[in-house]
Symmetry: C2
């Protein structure tokens, strides 16, 4: 509880009620939610919350490095309370996105033909453990 509040304060983000609830959702639901998923869930607790507020809060969180935006499906953004670099895994069957414990590397240098590489993003596709087991 206090931990969540301090996480915001330590990143210089004013801990308003809405921001705390949004961040708490992200910490408790490690499902890389869309804005809509967050919205639908918070509506139960905060019936007056608006999507604009969620967009605003997430923008702030990303700017301050508290939250990592992730792009996999192409049509919608997803967000991860784990802001450190790590790869994601998309299940091609159920569409779920999970964290995966792998190290991704590129073989080469920081400078490729004059292009300076700052960071690498990677995600993996396949069949998740759950879908794989229910398949037989």
């Amino acid at each position: 509880m206090e931990q969540v509040k301090n996480a915001l304060i330590s990143k210089n983000i004013k801990p308003t009620y809405q921001r705390l609830e949004i961040y708490k959702y992200l910490r408790n639901n490690r499902n890389h939610p869309t804005v809509d998923m967050i919205y639908e869930s918070l509506l139960k607790k905060i019936p007056t919350i608006s999507k604009t507020t969620i967009y605003n809060a997430l923008e702030t969180f990303v700017e301050k490095g508290l939250v990592m935006p992730i792009v996999i499906t192409g049509t919608e953004m997803r967000y991860d309370a784990n802001a450190s670099k790590h790869p994601h895994f998309l299940c091609e069957k159920c569409g779920k996105i999970i964290d995966i414990d792998l190290e991704c590397r590129y073989i080469g240098k920081m400078n490729v033909r004059g292009n300076i590489i700052n960071e690498m993003h990677c995600y993996l596709r396949g069949i998740c453990q759950n879908c794989n087991n229910s398949g037989h």
Copy 2:
């Protein structure tokens, strides 16, 4: 010319006039275009073409494995006539997306805690050679 047509036929895609032009555009412009970029360019040659047709054609191309959809920005899809796996580089300054000659690997196995990995996608971010040179 015939090559373009045969590329479609060999993937079991009927080579209509519009599809040929869309695929030709992708072959000639290796800039990972958006639907809108393809549309605006083809309008000059085919004033009656519609975005729906471009969406339809690209969907077919992707299904048949002729074209690779790429997801980097999160707001729009981009397409690449090179359907073989290779990483992309996004310039954080000019927004250009280019192919980059690097090998990406993950350190680990095909099966991570029951999740079966089929493929890996990766992209890199940084400053492109062009922006880097014009900077000083």
